[in-house]
Structures are given as structure tokens and as C-alpha cells.
Symmetry: D2
Subunit: 413 residues, 4 copies
């Protein structure tokens, strides 16, 4: 339990640290229905421990109204505030939310020190830490959207590493034989329910790009009028691009003939060598078609990623909070930098079982209308992601730290 307590303290402290650069108003703003205020993230992750861990001991709650305010989507727990109106909650105030965190942290520390949790509750506490790490990434993507879409476009932090990392590497390919292989998480270590069970799939021979698509390729796609050519796009994708007026990745803007972009350090010129980000699935798919390639399936991606070193990537802990330029001639940036869209719709694995109780809503009920992403990003905490890790977003989403890695049938490219 002391190991769990140590990790609990580390993870919980990091959430608060992420908010240090924010003003009180920054904590409260919700720039679109899909995003949540930072204050809400701080409270919701706390509620998770109170509602699912402390409740197993019959403990009362800090404030009985908070279940309504900070439940995200657990229907089995009860009603909740409309997601699109999270930014309307100026109360509880930021000091009250910090008091809520302190109260729950103290109670959790107590039950861990005293070893009061049964194994099921320990597992839920473990889940709660992974859950909080997910919200740490969401907090960064959401605050980026809030700051980046308001007129003054303030930087989140002005001290982030923005050193250039050299020349762009040519886009080469790595071949894989595929065959009858296994994917999915085994039983030994922590994994979300949607990564299980481990199961067999057939993979035909394929090639995978050595690195993700860079801004240089995106600029070439734009130069080829890719955003105006319906033949490159899925039908829904082209309709979305037209309706929303997409002319470039999110956060890009054109000024005096130059492409600028906003990132968490402020506005600067687009660096062609950097790995491209803030692309939707629809754009990823169109760029792949323009390149004569396709997106990898999630099975192909996981097959290629197995045995790669996960921790070496560019993670949130590296304090860059933006993708690097790819370097080297090996298969690089699979982990970290950008989440990579796959061509696989988010669906249950054969034999998938949800968690029991309210936590059964954690992943399963979102298995429609979303595409799988793999590999984590520069906004993900180091250590959070595995080769079998499945992230998922709607195909039109652009505010996540998402990018593109090309694939192809072997012999096709």
C-alpha cells in the first residue's frame, strides 16, 4: 500500500502543478463542449476517488452536491450537470476545489497507511491514478484550446523548450511480414478493460513509415490544394472540412505569407521539420490518400510497436509540450510526440468484458463513432502508455495532440 500511496501522492501533486501557470479565470473557462475547465478536471478526478474508493468504506462525502457537479458520465451513479455547461460553474471557487482535493487526499492517505482497502478497492484506486493521468493530458489539451482560441492567445508557459532539432529526415518505410499474431494486453500488469482480452488476428504483409508526417508534408498537401480536393477525402470528412472551414491544421494561421501556429509557448512560425499535430482523422486519412498510402490498422500498429522501448519518447515530463522533429533512420516517435490515428474504428475485442458496476461505463459505452489512436503524445505523462493502449476520439476531433503515421500494403507503395 505504501507504494500505491507514494504513487498517489506523485500523481495527485502533478495535477496541481500543471495548473500553477493559470489565473483563476483560466481555470474556469470552457472553450467548447468537448473541453472541460481545468478546475473541473481538478475536482472530477478527486470525486473519482471519493465516489469509487472511499465509498467502499461507507465514508460520507465532502459535499453531497459535488456528485451532481463532478460526475462525468456515470449514469449508474446518478444525474449530472450538462457537459456543455461545465464552464458556467463559477462555484465552487478554486480555493473550495483545492480544499476538496486536500480533504480527499488526506482520507485516501489514511486508508492506504492503515491498509483499509480490500483488493477490489485497491484496484480501483490504481485505476483512479491512471484515470487522473488521462485527465492531466486532457487538462493540457483543454487549456491549450481555451488559451489558443481567445483573442489574446496567451502562452501557457513561456519557459518551454523550443530549441530546433535539425533537418527533416526523409520518409522511409519499414516492412513487416505480419501473419497470425496476438495483440491486446495480457493479464499481468495494469491495463484498461478495452485492451483485453489478448487475442489472435491475421495481419497481411505491410510497411510502416519510419516517422510520422511532418509539417513539411502538411505544407505540401496544402500547396497541392488538398483541402479543396474531394477525391482525397471521405465523404463525411470533406463535408466537415467545408462546414468548419478547415484550411490547415488547428491552431495554424496565415499572416503576411507565412504560416504561424499557436502552441503552449505562444505563437511562432511553423517549423517544417517538426512532426505535424492537431490533425483530425479525416485530415489524416486525406493526407494518407494524397501520399498514395493509408493509415495503419491498430493491429498493425501494435504489432510493430511491440518490443519497442516506450519510455524514450517525448513525453509531457520532458517539458516541451510540443512534438519534436524526427531524427535518425529507424522507426521513431512511435511512442510520445503525437497520438497516431489508426484506420480502425473503436470496437470491443473478441470476448471483451466491461468492469463490474458503475465502472463498466468507463470505456465500453463509447464504442461507436470513434477511431483508435495509439502511442501517446508529448502531453501524456511518461509511463502512462503501453503498446496495447487504445485511445479513441471522433474522426472530426482536432484539439487533441494527434498526428499521422503512414502505412501501406507491402508492394503497394
Amino acid at each position: 500500500m505504501l507504494d500505491l500511496l507514494s504513487r498517489y501522492k506523485t500523481v495527485r501533486t502533478r495535477s496541481v502543478s500543471l495548473c500553477v501557470p493559470l489565473t483563476p479565470e483560466d481555470h474556469a473557462v470552457q472553450s467548447m463542449p468537448d473541453a472541460s475547465p481545468a478546475k473541473w478536471h481538478l475536482a472530477h478526478t478527486t470525486w473519482f476517488f471519493e465516489a469509487f474508493v472511499l465509498s467502499t468504506l461507507g465514508q460520507g462525502v465532502f459535499d453531497e452536491r459535488f456528485a451532481y457537479l463532478f460526475n462525468s458520465y456515470y449514469d449508474a451513479v446518478g444525474p449530472r450537470v450538462d457537459r456543455a455547461r461545465r464552464g458556467m460553474m463559477s462555484r465552487p471557487s478554486l480555493p473550495e476545489v483545492h480544499a476538496y482535493r486536500a480533504n480527499v487526499d488526506e482520507r485516501i492517505a489514511h486508508v492506504l497507511v492503515e491498509d483499509l482497502l480490500d483488493p477490489v478497492a485497491q484496484n480501483i484506486a490504481e485505476l483512479g491514478l491512471h484515470h487522473e493521468q488521462q485527465h492531466q493530458e486532457l487538462l493540457l489539451t483543454d487549456i491549450k484550446h481555451a488559451l489558443g482560441s481567445q483573442p489574446l492567445q496567451p502562452a501557457y508557459r513561456s519557459d518551454l523548450d523550443r530549441s530546433a532539432l535539425g533537418e527533416i529526415v526523409p520518409l522511409g518505410w519499414v516492412g513487416f511480414d505480419g501473419g497470425l499474431v496476438e495483440i491486446g494486453a495480457g493479464d499481468r500488469s495494469f491495463a484498461f478493460d478495452n485492451e483485453r482480452p489478448r487475442h489472435r488476428v491475421v495481419i497481411e504483409p505491410f510497411v510502416l513509415a519510419r516517422r510520422p508526417v511532418s509539417n513539411a508534408e502538411v505544407l505540401a498537401f496544402i500547396g497541392d490544394r488538398g483541402y479543396d480536393d474531394p477525391r482525397l477525402w471521405l465523404s463525411d470528412g470533406f463535408a466537415t472540412a467545408k462546414r468548419e472551414g478547415w484550411r490547415a491544421p488547428l491552431y495554424w494561421g496565415r499572416e503576411d505569407g507565412r504560416w504561424l501556429h499557436y502552441d503552449l509557448a505562444g505563437v511562432r512560425e511553423v517549423d517544417p521539420a517538426e512532426t505535424a499535430c492537431h490533425l483530425s482523422y479525416f485530415e489524416a486519412d486525406a493526407i494518407a490518400r494524397w501520399a498514395g498510402a493509408r493509415l495503419p490498422t491498430e493491429a498493425e500498429w501494435e504489432h510493430a510497436a511491440t518490443e519497442r522501448r516506450v519510455r524514450e519518447g517525448n513525453w509531457a515530463d520532458d517539458e516541451r509540450l510540443h512534438p519534436r522533429a524526427a531524427t535518425g533512420d529507424h522507426l521513431c516517435q512511435l511512442f510520445g510526440d503525437v497520438w497516431e490515428w489508426t484506420g480502425s474504428a473503436y470496437a470491443p475485442y473478441p470476448g471483451f468484458r466491461t468492469l463490474p458496476g458503475a465502472l463498466g461505463e468507463y470505456n465500453g459505452k463509447f464504442m461507436s463513432g470513434q477511431m483508435v489512436l495509439r502511442g501517446g503524445s508529448c502531453l501524456t505523462p511518461r509511463g502512462h502508455v503501453r503498446a496495447s493502449y487504445r485511445n479513441f476520439f471522433a474522426p472530426g476531433a482536432r484539439w487533441q495532440m494527434t498526428g499521422v503515421r503512414l502505412a501501406n500494403d507491402r508492394g503497394a507503395s
Copy 2:
């Protein structure tokens, strides 16, 4: 100029005082597109003095980006942030907005002390004070909406006077002969352009209710299923009521068989004797029809109000911030308590001329789709309103401090 300076300081200080009970997040929240954040009101009223008064002296601006952020609707001044996204601006922060106010206040004080303003600029400064008083009322209505429509429904202030004021007075009538009379503001003292010119109108004999409609009458209207009876409503009104699910005035809710309402002091039971508020024009019109009466025209209202004492009403300065119960058997509550809907569409008076330059947009361009209200309310600063004062809102608006006074043709009721 020293009189103007004195009033400048008084008015400007009051805006800041109104915000003292608010948290930083309360300052920033925008609960619907028609409402603005308190922080925006503080900045916009400041920008008004900078853009229209200090600019006449060729002075530079505090921050050149603020014109885009805090221009409300002056097209002649330049582009501006989309009104519905004012709540997205977490920056400038509250301290920065206060610094902006201090800077402009200092500069205005200087030019007034040094008597640097020409007569036109002095008039604009005078206009700026009336403008700021209007925004003081909007600030209160908007923060009431922001606090009252979030789940915790916090009180704005818990120290407001909530003493009950006795029994309800029967609804009697006062008769007027009308005839060929004059309405509108004369030339001697301050008035907005839309109150001019003073002009002749014909008024047929009419009666006016001694007091506004009280909650008792609204409860009777509800009891008669007034919200469900299309015969009582304008066609657009009934469609609006159905679409928005109106079952009672805004801020009312039913709990355990009792009607509660939210006001700036929190939630309490509806007091039948109090003057009813937060009714739209559509509801006012339906209640009048249900009562066998009609709304007064603005000419009737002004004719009846002329010679009445304005300052005796229940104004914001009285620290109740909610209507009282009417008392006495005379024509009462014409001024203060609630804005009274008239049956007159907001239109130019014969011979109307807008102000020159950008300030020509102050009133004239809103003369379509709105109805005139008269008399001021318990959220209006004392001294701001005149008998000729014309307020105006769309017929479906309910978040303003609006109520109903009945009228009728003489002999009809």
C-alpha cells in the same frame, strides 16, 4: 468640470463596488449570449471613455488590443470579438482590467481637472456616465443569471434586505382623459437621443392599474393554466413559451408543492404580495389578456408618469435588489421596482436624429424587433431614469428586471 469629475468618481467607484461580492471566476462567466461577464462590463465601460473621450485629445491607448476585445457593437470603430464568446476571454485577467480602469480614471481626472475637454467631449463624458449606469444594471442582471442558472445557485449577497412588506393591495385603476399631449425629452437636461424630439401624440381616454401585477396574480394565471392556453398569447409568444418550456417566470421552480424563486439573496419561497418580475413581453401580454386588460402604450405610460416623483422608488441604491410589495392606494411603483413592458414597439420618434459619428450607433440601430419598457427597476441606480426614459428589449427576454402594469380603454374593463 469639477462637478463632472465628482460624478465621474462616484459612478466609476460604484461599478467596482458592485463586483466586491464576486470571485474571480464569477467575474468571467457568461451564462448566455445575451449576457456579458462582469469583467467585460468593467472593461467595456472603461474603453468607452478611452475610445470616445480621451481619443478626442489624441491620446494613445492603454493596450491597442483592447478595442477589439471591449468594443460592444460600434461598427464604425472597428471589428470586435463575437458577443457570444465574451466569456471565453480569461485574459486580460481581473487585475489587468482593474489596472486598465485605474489608468483611464487617472487620465480622465487629469483632463477634467485641467479642463482640457471641448464641449462636445464633455457631453460624451456625460454620456459615458449614463452609459456606465446602464451597464451597472446589466452587470447585476447578468451576474444574477450567471449565479442563478448554475447548479449551486449561490447568493450574490446574503445581507440584502428581505423584510416582508405586508399584505397585497387590491388592483385598482386610475383614469386619464388623454387628448393631444406631448411626450419625449425637452432640450434642457441630459437625455438619450431616442427620447427626442419632444412631440405631440393623441391619447384616447384610458385607465392604468394602480400597481404592477404581483406574484399573486401570476400564481392565479398559472393556476388557470395560462401557460397552456394559446388563446391568451401572441402567436410568436406561444411558440416561444413552448419551445423554451416556460411554466412560470424565470428563476421560479416548484419543489414539494411550493413555488420557490432564486433572487440575488438566494432561494426562498415566492411571496404573493411582491411585485412580479422576470416576465417577458410575451408573458406580460398574455397576463394582460387573461386579466381582460392590455398593456399601456409608451405614450400613455409617459403621460401618466409625468409630474410623478421619480426618486421615491425602490432603486438599486436601496440595497434590496428585488421588487417590494406595493402599498397604498395611489398610483405606485411607476418608477423603480420593475421595468414595465409597454405595448409599443421601439421605433424612432418623429424627427429623430442620431448622434453624429460612431455614437450614432448608440440607440438607433436597435429600432427593430424590440418593445419599449419604462420606469426603471430595483437594479437601476437612483437618478438614472426619467419619465421620458425608453428602455427596450426583445419580446422573449426574461433575464431583465421586468414586470407588468395593466391598462385598458376607459369603459372597457
Copy 3:
């Protein structure tokens, strides 16, 4: 009664004649929620006689389901099909609707020949004829919209008079002294309830343009970038123009540097000399401001129109179905050609009383959000309109045969 019967036959026959050029599908199409299919107009006007006249004799109905289908907006009569879905009713078929008309016509003829109607029912029958004439104009405006907004833009009739009518007349002014005058319909002959009672109003001295605005002026307004200049527009008007992409009057299109327009005879080049039409109130108001003028009030208009000869205008019976060019140097085209927007919101006259029963919904419940138009148009049947006649539409409506006559305060222009 035989006079009434004779007029009944004339009016009813004309409705059917208007539909002769239409295919069965043309009869059924509804091009927007505000328009109705021709077949619906044929059935609804028939239902009016059945529901309000024959019902007074206790007669049964042709088909009990038709009340739901062909009731327009009479809540007191019962529920009805959603207005926006009138075009979804492929049934009853056109032959069935004609059978319905024949059945009601036969029954009405019988009761008139046998003199079975009491005076109230006779008055309703009279109202029914005026009602049907209103729908004859709506039928033409609606079918024009249906044909003109589909890709092939077929002509309604190719045999309409399209002779040019000479040079454009300069826009001169006629002065009026105004004073304390009376407007509204007296008691002797037929008028709608909204034209009564006749009452006194004060009119200040004013001038009225000799002719309506022509296409030449509209072209000049466009050339001056009038559609892009917010200073010329009401706030709601400019927002509407931008949202709906207005660049010219409805039915105008630009091709190879020329302005073409669609009218009921097909597509042809815009004739600068013709009186302009299909302008909304918002455009009328903006054009007036651009011209340094304003729109007349409805009192001014009626005061000027009284004593003018009504029947001489260009009416639907003249088989042009489009405005002419104005000719002569007198006050011309007051009646016929185009409905003229006034600056008056549609509101009850002092002492207004609705008709008893369900027919009380005929006019009164639309008295919000609409502006008054006067004078009739080239799509109005000759004899339908009076000087006191009040038409009304929302300020953004463009599909009616609407135009602009300028006015001004005397001495202002």
C-alpha cells in the same frame, strides 16, 4: 344573397384558374416553411368555408381528417399539421382536393340560393372571399418561390406581358402638411378587424416620394457597396443580411457581368426602370438611409393615399404579374405594383377588438415582430385592397412582392 353567390363563384373560380399552368408536382412543393403548396391553398380556403360558414348550419364535413390537414393556425378549432411539413402531404391527391372544392362550392351555392345563412354567417362568408383573395396572392408568391428556387427555374407562364415601359422618371417628392387626422376603416363597408377603429393621429409635415424605388436605385445602392456597409443598416438587418448572404434583391443573380432576375415569366435581364421588388424591410430601411431619407409611417402613407384612385394600379388581373416602370410626374403606383414597407410595427389600433370566436385569431395574434405594408401589389386581385388595408410581414421576409417608397420630414431631404 345572389350578389354574394355571384362573387363567390368569381373568386372561387379564379383560384382554380391560377393553378392551370401548374403540373401536379408543382401543386405539392413547399420550398420553405413560410410558403405553402398551391394544393394546400386550394384546400385551406375551402376548409375555411366549411369550418366557419357551413358549420353554422350544423352540416357534416367532407372528410373529418381535413380539419387537421388544412387548418392554418386556428388553435380554437383544434390541432393541425406542422406548417413546415405541408409539402410532405402528397395526399389527398390533387383530384381529391378538386373534389373537396366542388363539394363545398355546391353546398355554399345551395345555402346562398336558399338564403339559409344568418347575418353573422353571411359576414363570415364575405370574410371568406377576402380570405381567399389573400391566398390567391400567397399562392402566386409561393409558387414563384417554388419555381424560382429550383434548379431549372421554369416560368409560371410564358405569355405574360413583358413590354418595356419607357424611361425611368426622376424621383421627386410630394409634400403633406399632416396635422391631426383620422386613419383606419369606417363602419360602412368591408374591412378586416385590424383596420379598425378609425381613430385620430398626429402627423408632422412630411414629404413622400412620387414613385417607389426603382431597380436603378437598387443597382446604385449595390454599386455603393450598400450590402457591406453596417452604418446603413439596423443591427438585426445587417446580421440577417450577412447570415443569409444577401448581395441583391431576392431572385437576382449575376452572370457574365450582368444582373439577371427570375420572375413568373422566366429569367431576363434586370430593367433599371422597373419598380424594385422582393426587398425585405431591412433592405428597404437601409436603402432609405443610404438615400438620406426614411420609410413613411403607416399613418403618413394612409393619409397620402386617401382620395387616390385605388383601381387604376397594376394588379394581378392585368396579367403582368410583375411591377411596371413608373410613369408620369404625379404620386404614382401607391396602389398595386409593390407592397410598400412602412416604418410602423404591426400593432393594434387604439380600441382594437378582435372578431368573436375562433376568427378572433384571424389577425390579432400576429401583432408582434412584424412591419406594416400598404397598397397591394401586381399579385393582388384588383378590388381587394383599400387605403386602410394593412398587410404585415416579418422584417426579413423577401419572397413577397414588396418594395420601397421613400419619405422624409419636410425640410429634411
Copy 4:
């Protein structure tokens, strides 16, 4: 070619026959954006032969404006009328569309008799026949929606077979071992591009229900308050059900305590024994979860269906146009009766290649946001469907003839 000509005549004649029961207005009505008017189907299928077959011979077109009117979604061919406004096209009239069909039929007959088509064009003509069969089913589903959603709910045909077919069969299961199997179309006979290439997949042991879900099960689901229980639904599904007010399958209504439904023969009481239809994917998924089961994957479905006799089903040619009750204790109704939702998102098979040229848009660009259905329905022409045939619709679509077959992991149910 004579075989092709013979089939051409058969297929083309059938489209016209399907429209015989329709009035001219029925041909033109479009009851929602996803549906098309019958007249449009008649013209679009004709345009397909003109644009893709006759064009290869350099032949001119019947009317050059028709490409704009009757192109469905081929961006490479040019612009087209907005899909949601197909019902606005009262012109060309029905006789003109029949003349268009006759003209193209004559020209196609000529080129087939004279053997003027090269092999590629012959294949496209073959594709055109399968395309027209698809539109025959769409024509029936769309006209059902048009007739069934208007107030009179007229029958399409009153002479359809509506004999009851006995008692409901218990829902038993058939087991399959799965393994490494092949699915997809081989190269020998006609198949759409999306059915290819044939490829290997891994299927774990599973069971499949002997028959589709019947109305009896749907009634039990309703009785269990299934439409109100969020735990049974995908998150998007529950939101859709609430937003659209789903309480039962499409076309069901409750009257006097009985469930009625509309079908192409009119309104009648729901027969519990009949196979349920007009269920969305979201409902199918919820019903499966309620039943403790799941939907089959498309690979499982195809694996089970291979070797089954396709032609024995209840097809459109059987003149019932509604599902039967399932009979017998074998795996029944796999083909015909209802399209069966699978749990598989519509995606390209490994190695998928689109057709060259504009026909590459036939299937590939719809591969996002849709779920695969299998097996054909009682509205599908006999002979049109294969075991490898992939139909696809959005998960919220209910107007297609869609039903549910349950599956499960072996040992799980």
C-alpha cells in the same frame, strides 16, 4: 450482350412498375434529407447509364442540365443539387422523366444489340443494373417513409399478402467453431468493390441465434423500460434515443393500449411473431445487451451464411414487402426479411482498391461513421444479394428495413 440486354430490360421495367401505385405528387415528395423522391430515383438511375456507359461512346446527353439535377454524389463528375432539396424539384415533370428513361433505354438497347460497348463499359453497364436494384430498395424504403410519415398514412398497396404465419419460434442458438477462415468475394462473379479482396480472418468460437429478434422480444424490451435504461445503450445511442424521442421502433404508435404499426399495406396491430424491423443499430445493440448477448461481427455472419441458400428468403418479388414470422428450428431468415446489423464498422478490407475514375466514389468514400448490415431484406430484389454483400448505414438510421440477429461468444450465453 443479349443476356445483358434481357436483364437490362427486366431491371429497368421493374423500377417503373414499382411506381405504378403512386400519384404524381407521391413521386415528388422527400420526407427527410436522407430519403429521395421516387421521381429522382427514376431519373438518377437513368443518368447513371447515360453518364457512365453511353458517355464512353461519346454520345451527347438528353438534357445537359440533368447532370446537375441527378448526380447523387460523384464529385469527379461535377456539382449537383443539394441532397436535402431533391424534393423541391417539381421539374422536370414525371412525364419528362419517363421520356428521359425511354430515351436512354432506347440508346442502351441499340448499343447492346449492336455490341458497341468495350469490356470496361460492359462491366459498368452490369454495375448499373446492380445499382438500379439498390435504388429499387431505396425507392421502397423512401416512399414508405414519405407515405408513413404524413398525416393520412396511405397504403402503398392494399393488395399485399398479410396472412399470419403462425406461432413464434423460441430463440435457439447455433454454434460455430470459427478459426482461420476466409471471407469476401472471389473474382469469378459480380461483386461490389467493397466486398473484395477475399482475405483471411480469425474467428473465435461463437453462437448465432436461429432467427432474428421478433416483435415479441421488442415488446418485452419496451416492457422492461429498455428505452429508458442508459446502462443498456451506447453513449451516442442513448443520447440519440432521447433527442429523437424513441419509445419503440419507427412506424410504431400506441393507441388505446395497443401497439399499431404502419407498413406498406397500411396500419395494423403489431404481430408479436413477426420479425422486428425498422430498428437502428443503436437499438439493435441495446436489445442485444438487454438479452445478455451481442451483435455478430460481419465476419461471423458471413462465415455462418456461406453455403446457405440465398434465394429462399422473403424478397421484394414475393409481394409481401414486410418481414414474416420465422418458422422452423434451423438457422432461418439469414437472407431476405430484414437486413441484419453487425457489430462491425464499415471499413476497407485489407488490400481494398476502389474502382478507377469517378466510380471510385461508389463505395470507398463512405467508409466512416457507418455500420455493416448483411443479408438483404423483404424490400430487396431477389438475386441481388450474396453472402459477401455489405450494406452500410449510420448507427441512428431507422427508415431502412433493418433488424437484429443476436450472437454471443460460445459459452457466454
